[in-house]
Amino acid sequence: MKMRCLASETVVNCFTHMKLILGRLLIGGFFAWGTLAHADLTPEQVQQLPAPATHKIDFAKEIQPILSVSCGNCHGRGKSKGDFRIDDRATFLKGGDSGPAVVLGKSEKSLLIELVMGFDPDAIMPAKGSKLKPEQIALLRAWIDQGAPWEKEVWLGKIEPQNLHPRLPQVPQNKKFSNPVDALLDGYFKTNKVKWAAPVSDRAFARRVYLDVIGLLPPATELDQFVSDRRRDKREQLVQKLLNQNQAYADHWLSFWNDLLRNDYKGTGYIDGGRKQITKWLYSSLLTNKPYDGFVAELVNPTPESEGFTKGIVWRGVVNASQVPEMQAAQNISQVFMGINMKCASCHDSFINDLQLSDAYSLANIYSEKPLELFECDKPTGKMAVSKFLYPEFGSIDGNADRTNRMKQLADCVISEKNGRLPRTLVNRLWDRFMGQPFVEVDDMEQKAWNPDLLDWLAEDFVAHNYDVKHLIAQIVTSRAYQLPSVNVDQLEKQYVFRGPSVRRMTAEQLRDALTSVTSIGYAAPNAEVEVLDETTLKKFGLRAETKWIWNDKAAASKAPAEIVYFRKTIHLATTPTEANVVVTSDNSFILYVNGTKIGEGNDFNKPYLFDLREVLKNGANIIAVRAANHLPNNALPKPGELVPGTENPAGLLLYARVRSGKESDEKVMDFATDKTWIWSRAEVSGWEKKGFAAAEWSNAIELGAAQMAPWRLKKDHIPNKLASTQSGAIRAALVNADPLAVALGRPNREQTVTTRPSEATTLQALEMTNGETLADILRRGAEAITAEAKSERELIQQIYQNALGRKPTSAERKLAEELLGKPVNKEGVEDLLWATTMLPEFQLIY
């Protein structure tokens, strides 16, 4: 801790902000321990001493807090005012310039007691701030009288930052374990007297690893296959198989990185360009398993696709100097990649680590177009920042270089092979994910790990494998350690001892996707703009019908009046489709109806919107109707039938529907798209969007041109991509905006970097799950689908259990379920059975 200019009001203000946690720690001395001469107390003074406490003193509980709070600032954490240090018992007893701090066994003769009593107002300790209370002095006296016991492991001196430099520990020879993770843990277990428990069952392992690697429950058939698989290495095989499911992997890890990189699809800042998504870049990085060093370099020294991370959020109005975008970049780079909290230091020298205000500004300055002036607690200091990385040993930043080059140099520092912190920080986060507890608190990488060898080895192995994140994941989840039975997180002990993964809660996204697995009810369309790159997939989703931009006038691509135009098309389907997805966009906005039912709307013509039409499209004639609007210049909607002269601007409507039935071999293609066979009208007549409406007077639409035409220039693969994103049947929860269920289950508002989500189950969550409309709707529709499909009551119960819990129901469970379902099976019973099974801890927790 740096003590400076205490007299300055600026510093005092921000110190007040910290005062409770550190209390008197902050108070510097006007005089030092060493300037005092030791004098014996007079009998009167001895009389005034609080009587020593009479119980046996617990140093850690009773004394150490007094020492660290009241003395630590000048005599601890590397400080030695008056040459007095309280690093450990030895330095404490040795005392400082004025001699020993205490006379063991004789508190009344101890200098420490004399000073804290403050008999001499010019020589009182602590030198500034509140005096010690009589109870505290009574404790100190008793402690001294009892011989000042001090536990060896309690260190109040300076703590060197940990986990900074690469270190490759020797992996001990081990006949029992081939995975170095286990070999390294074997010794640790011996030291901590932990016995290796038998690995969990195949079913438990599969459930864990599916959820951890791709975020999904194992499908019942795959689970059965796995259990009956006789290969010895089947667990390793399964891990590889899951890691190879690129899309499912990307869908799952997207949430992890969205939290860390505070990326979302809507939220503060996006609306006025004060924030930029990195979704596309992030998703494709995950899909291709981009090596982590390259991934980080592209975030630190960004391309236009990845710059949203360092651009931060430009808040409207005046913001505190510690929250300007450059400082946000510094904070986020430090926290996400280096596991260190820079939030304190962006306002004043930090109280929780050794970072200084100038460190924060040095890093922020790299991102600034013009040199930044240091502001301390939002007040200018007159000092200018110098571009520098936190750890200059990893490389230098040329202060004269331009911003582009400085960012490049910074990226080189961060991903330098000398930076042992970068890989360790990610290893720590992933271990936390899989095991429920990290090696070190995730945002405090300066602390020592509970098993440094294991952390260091995993980090070096990760680097040696080219920063391959999937390799790192495989290394951890194929270990015996990961396969140990889960332990109760509540087993809080004197010191954390690893015994196996802790019981964890599913995340909001895992839970929602698990509900999809059980009910088959997923999201209809993603909000995340992601592109699936796989060639065969793209080919499969190629367009089968000509798609044209249409409107009511042939000049519309350059200018058309602001007005609302109604479009219709009757489609005849030869059979009920099994797949029906439609992509729509309109300049400027649209509302889509099918057979009179409103399907959805959209108002951004750069982003085609995707909707699932399976529930509404029927065998025979169907009415597709679109209310499309060309907006006024202020983006307002014109009134129906209103034409405002002078407000002309480009207008167009584009729609493509992929409609199929049957399996691949005898697939029936019933795709359709916007073209001149659509008809339009200006008048909003009641029932215009419904069947049976006489549209005889409507005119044929004008084809403006192909999807790629100016001014809209949709990319060639845009529509196929959008359609392909539906491939897995349901859209994963990570790809959509948070709904009330997701929010209740802890999906964060991503305005700040989030490194851990709360794991506590809360009443508000339970309320949302007990009577919230989001879940109720999923269960209602799910029950319908399941009831329609299942052949018998027995089969239905079995199917729900298999899909939800990965096992058959016990006979007791079956009996209960049968009672609930009634005879014949009623849909409400199915709904309630779904609710009850998905509310079970067995479903919601990862054991």
Binding site: H17, K19, L20, I21, A60, S130, W155, T268, W315, R316, G317, V318, V319, N320, S322, Q331, N341, K343, S346, Q447, S486, N488, V489, D490, L492, Q495, V503, R505, V743, N749, E751, Q752, T756, P758, S759, E760, A761, T762, T763, L764, A766, L767, T770, N771, A776, R780, T810, A812, E813, L816, L820, E828, D832, L833, A836, T837, L840, P841, E842, L845
Partner: protein, 473 residues
């Protein structure tokens, strides 16, 4: 917390703290006030009546010279567009349209000197964020709403009623994302977040079984769940922290939904005569709901006229006409709320706070003399009724009404200038002091903090809030 600290902490922590710690909840740090003072609570419940959008003080509780509408009148002559009326207290005047509230002024304390933060150019959502969290956005951690702080610190008053209930705000309208950013428990964890009742008229929906499910089926479903727990292997899996936490939360939810207290949400159970007194629309019914919930044992309720850009109090045009309308919706039900709580003996321990993010003026934007970016257009001469009213955002004064909860009765605090700019000239009250006052009434020190990322986060900005002692009886 590192392992070393954690170990030390665990030795002294209570079982309850341990649970919170295991769940990753921030630790509470009670301040040492230095003088060993223990604050005596004067209230158990808080009701915030939120006039979202900017309520002009000179048009409501702080009348200035009345200038009736005349075609061609000069804007700079307009201070109040409503005549002054008497209240139950001799020296306190209101503007016309607030007759009912005027009749209960003898139960209230009026702050006329509330001054909004200086946050650069005026943005409703930023000022509302500051009013509700006590902090300017952005913060490096997600700041909790005052209701969440109270819920976290004091817990529910009746375990069957959510501790923090938010009535009347929908989030799918303009600036919804910005509003969400402070309608949250933030880093305190979602246990303390708002229980949302977007539409007061339909509040019962929040506590009844899902659409289409009868109460008996709802009960039956829960019984089945319990049996499944007992009979299934989960029951035998043994006890673990996560499982207990999940089951406890499900129990809590069920208890809340099936408790007699849930009836408080059902406005249909209110006698017609009383219902009609409140029924001026959404807000009026919200007052009725707030009263019923207070009776049932709510801890913190916020009821809003609802902030929607350019609507309600956000008068960018037609200020006079709109306010005349708005007053009709708030006047009777607020007065009725005060009277009802009093007659039920609840007003003494319930603090009602009526407030807005800032005030308005016909001419001055922001603080007098400050350069501001962009302001609502207002002609110098008013030719059309549309331009008659307070259409600019004024931050240098504002009225806050307080009733009950240990506050003085028939009292006024603070003075504003009688001529433009009608700014605060005496006893300025800023947000952290207003918050400190509310906290103090509840027995919470302004210096209470919660530890997040090893830093203290104080319930008032940096622990600086000073309760306005002049307000307390």
């Amino acid at each position: 917390m590192n392992n070393w600290n954690r170990r030390e902490f665990l030795k002294t922590a209570s079982a309850a703290t341990l649970t919170a710690l295991a769940a990753g909840y921030p630790k509470q740090v009670w301040a040492d006030t230095g003088v060993g003072e223990k604050i005596k609570a004067t209230a158990d419940t808080v009701i915030v009546l939120w006039m979202g959008g900017g309520m002009a003080h000179t048009e409501t509780f702080d009348p200035k010279r009345y200038a009736p509408f005349e075609k061609g009148m000069a804007t700079d002559q307009v201070l109040s567009t409503f005549p002054t009326i008497d209240t139950a207290v001799d020296n306190i005047k209101f503007t016309a349209g607030l007759e009912q509230m005027a009749s209960v002024m003898d139960r209230g304390t009026l702050i006329r000197s509330y001054t909004a933060g200086d946050l650069g150019f005026i943005l409703h959502s930023r000022h509302q964020y500051q009013w509700h969290t006590g902090y300017e956005p952005p913060q490096t951690v997600a700041a909790p709403h005052i209701g969440a702080v109270i819920a976290r610190t004091l817990g529910p008053k009746n375990p069957a009623v959510p501790a923090f209930i938010d009535i009347g705000q929908r989030f799918d309208l303009g600036e919804g994302e910005e509003l969400k950013a402070f309608h949250t428990a933030g880093f305190l964890g979602s246990e303390y977040g708002p229980f949302l009742v977007p539409n007061p008229a339909d509040a019962v929906r929040s506590v009844r079984p899902p659409e289409g499910m009868s109460p008996s089926r709802f009960e039956n479903r829960n019984k089945f769940y319990k049996k499944l727990m007992e009979k299934g292997p989960t029951g035998q899996l043994g006890s673990d922290y996560q499982k207990e936490s999940l089951l406890r939360s499900m129990d809590n939810a069920h208890r809340l939904l099936s408790s007699p207290a849930a009836k408080a949400f059902d406005l249909a159970l209110e006698p017609k005569e009383s219902y009609d007194k409140y029924n001026t629309g959404r807000f009026g019914l919200g007052c009725l709901l707030a009263r019923r919930l207070t009776e049932a044992g709510a801890r913190f309720i916020e009821l809003t006229t609802e902030y929607i850009p350019f609507e309600h109090w956000d008068t960018h045009e037609n200020g006079h006409t709109r306010l005349a309308q708005l007053k009709k919706t708030i006047d009777a039900p607020i007065a009725q709320l005060v009277r009802d709580l009093e007659s039920r003996g609840l007003l003494d321990r319930t603090l009602i706070v009526l407030a807005s993010e800032f005030s308005r003026d016909a001419l001055v934007e922001g603080k007098p003399g400050k350069e501001v970016k962009g302001q609502v257009p207002q002609p110098d001469k008013i030719e059309d009724l549309k331009f008659y009213g307070m259409h600019r955002h004024f931050t240098d004064a504002g009225s806050v009404m307080l009733y009950g909860g240990g506050m003085k009765r028939g009292h006024v605090h603070g003075v504003t200038a009688d001529e433009r700019p009608c700014k605060t000239i005496k006893d300025r009250v800023i947000i952290e002091d207003l918050h400190a006052t509310i906290y103090r009434a509840l027995g919470i020190p302004a210096t209470l903090s919660y530890e997040i990322e090893k830093r203290p986060f104080y319930v008032t900005r940096d622990g600086h809030g000073k309760a306005v002692m002049d307000l307390f009886a």
